[in-house]
Symmetry: C3
Subunit: 138 residues, 3 copies
């Protein structure tokens, strides 16, 4: 049994879903672990993780619109010093995931056919997001 | 330290919560791992996982009604080609869990007294859902 | 490779976020595991877990207000026998996390600068909540 760790830096340019499936896949492949558990951890509170359909880009547009509506900017938040998009960002992060663990079988993540791993950026301004990867197995 | 994996096939017949606690429990028990970590991973983007109360069925009825209201069908989604229940399904999956990890102690999951593990089906039509289980421990 | 487990008892006194970062940190530190994976599991269906900003307390006030609005008390729930705050508690738990896994590197959780781990209490009355910790690594 052994472990491997890596940190991914993901540049973002405004609100939306940024697919990281391939970057994560390359890490798993390079470590040559056949059976194990991969963990993806987002080191931020105004960005988050999501596993979603990677087939039709309209799904992402509708997801963006949904989260815009459920936690709108300018909804009378107390916390406003970091800009009108900051408090909604924390709410959207709370409603989605900070961490995902995915079993590894036959050297690959057991993702379903249409599942992609996304970093969900909730801020307007460009950011450089840090995602920690951890892999354990044989 | 060792690992075990299994894939559960869960037939569903419309929107709702399908309890999988016993199927998962049987897998853990059969592997005879005393201390470890169990991961449950849903290989779909229109179904998800939830740990919820398994005592009063009214809780499940209210949960169903809540998610029906928060992401209704026919809300003007762009993504509609797979039916009016498909985009709400993706949203409900985003708001709940694709993966759950549960510590194992004394050979059993450390679930609380009233906690059950559920597959949350978000589509109307019958489906056969695939859940990957991964167990690591001693 | 080895494992460690512990159960934290967290007294709560009404709805809100209770930070457990330091209690979890002390467990990780005392086990002297340099590289690994820590799992935090909430053994309840009316309380949950959240990683959120620990810098500005206004963020927590806004989060509380958001979850109060998204799943209000007295919204015509069927399940009411355990009090008007019980069904909203289940919904808020469904929308947040029951479990969090955090990679360990250099003997510490890889939390971002502003990330804190919180128990999110959704009931009005005082409770004693049980959180299971599991650590695996070297």
């Amino acid at each position: 049994m052994r472990q491997a760790s890596q940190c991914l830096a993901i540049p973002t340019d405004g609100k939306g879903l940024y697919e990281v499936t391939w970057a994560v896949h390359r890490f798993v492949e390079s470590e040559r672990i056949e059976t194990g558990l991969l963990t993806v951890f987002c080191r931020h509170t105004s960005a988050s993780l999501l596993i979603q359909e990677n087939a039709d880009p309209d799904v992402q547009a509708d997801l963006k619109r949904f989260f815009e509506a459920v936690a709108p900017e300018n909804a009378g938040y107390i916390h406003g010093a970091e800009g009108p998009d900051d408090m909604p960002a924390h709410i959207r992060a709370a409603l989605t995931q900070t961490q995902l663990s995915i079993p590894i079988a036959d050297g690959r993540m057991v993702l379903g056919t249409w599942q992609g791993i996304y970093l969900f950026e909730h801020r307007r301004a460009p950011h450089r997001r840090s995602i920690a990867l951890h892999l354990i197995g044989v």
